[in-house]
């Protein structure tokens, strides 16, 4: 059985480029309480790997990131990261069950994108649930 390994930090650092290249969007699913950061339709043939207690990433078979999931976003993640509170109210205060935000290159959505990507990396540094991920073929 062939094994591929990658450090958690290395894969999380790939997220900003992957997001720009693949046109990732933010989808807040209020019903589920989760924030998804990924393509509008999640690609198949990916597996979910937990990075920290706050979030997990979908990785393809070559261990490249194809999406991020923050479970219990409003009731857990934002409580632990108060810097998101104001932007969160700006973008996600609608009463709709599902809100999609397409980040722009400038403005508050760009700030939100940058802040989130930095927070994902700092969480992976400060409180990873494991040091590396392993895929087997």
């Amino acid at each position: 059985m062939e094994k591929t390994t990658k450090s958690i930090l290395d894969l999380v650092k790939e997220i900003p480029n992957a997001a720009s290249e693949q046109g990732w969007v933010f989808t807040l699913d209020k019903d589920e309480g989760a924030l998804f950061y990924g393509p509008k339709i999640a690609p198949k043939d990916t597996e979910l790997f937990q990075v920290s207690d706050e979030y997990a990433v979908y990785l393809d078979k070559k261990l490249h990131p194809r999406g991020v999931v923050i479970e219990y976003y409003a009731n857990n993640f934002v409580q632990h990261h108060q810097e998101f509170k104001k932007l969160n109210q700006e973008f996600f205060s609608s009463s709709k069950d599902s809100i999609v935000l397409e980040p722009k290159k400038t403005g508050d959505s760009a700030i939100f994108k940058s802040l989130l990507e930095k927070t994902l990396i700092s969480d992976a540094v400060l409180s990873p649930v494991r040091d590396e991920v392993i895929a087997t073929k």
């Binding site: 094994k3 989808t27 019903d31 309480g33 999640a42 043939d45 979910l48 479970e71």
Partner: protein
């Protein structure tokens, strides 16, 4: 309830084929009973909503296989983190690779009848461990 393992022989579907397939007249993607013999349904509307962000739900063999079994015969069940009185997190152990356990997780809303599936996916982590009450089975 007798718990026995089986797999649907359904092939994995492409996303386009998937959305075509689930738009059939029948409104229920899955109908079964949970470990308390309460009826549980997974509607096609709910499935279509959730499958956009949960690639596991684009595979009909997952829905008729592991997801169904996680409802009927979970290894353990926690109260949901966000809505502890209204929802439950069912976990079914899948396999252990390199010391990491993978699960099928199904969130079931229990505040109405029939109970219904909110979402499902395949994590390698138990988010509720140490945070909410374990109400069925053993998490070890």
């Amino acid at each position: 309830m007798a718990c026995f393992w089986y797999y649907s022989q359904s092939a994995s579907l492409t996303a386009a084929h998937f959305y075509t397939t689930i738009s059939m007249k029948d409104k229920t993607a899955l109908s079964t009973k949970d470990y308390e013999t309460e009826a549980v349904i997974f509607t096609k509307d709910q499935l279509a909503k959730k499958a956009k962000n949960r690639p596991e739900l684009q595979d009909l063999s997952f829905i008729n296989g592991r997801l169904k079994r996680a409802i009927e015969c979970p290894d353990f069940v926690y109260r949901d983190f966000e809505k502890p009185n209204d929802r439950r997190a069912h976990y079914l152990k899948e396999y252990l690779v390199n010391g990491v356990q993978r699960y099928t997780k199904v969130i079931v809303a229990i505040d109405q009848k029939p109970r219904f599936v909110v979402t499902a996916y395949r994590p390698d982590y138990v988010k509720e461990r140490g945070k909410t009450e374990l109400i069925y089975g053993k998490d070890n």
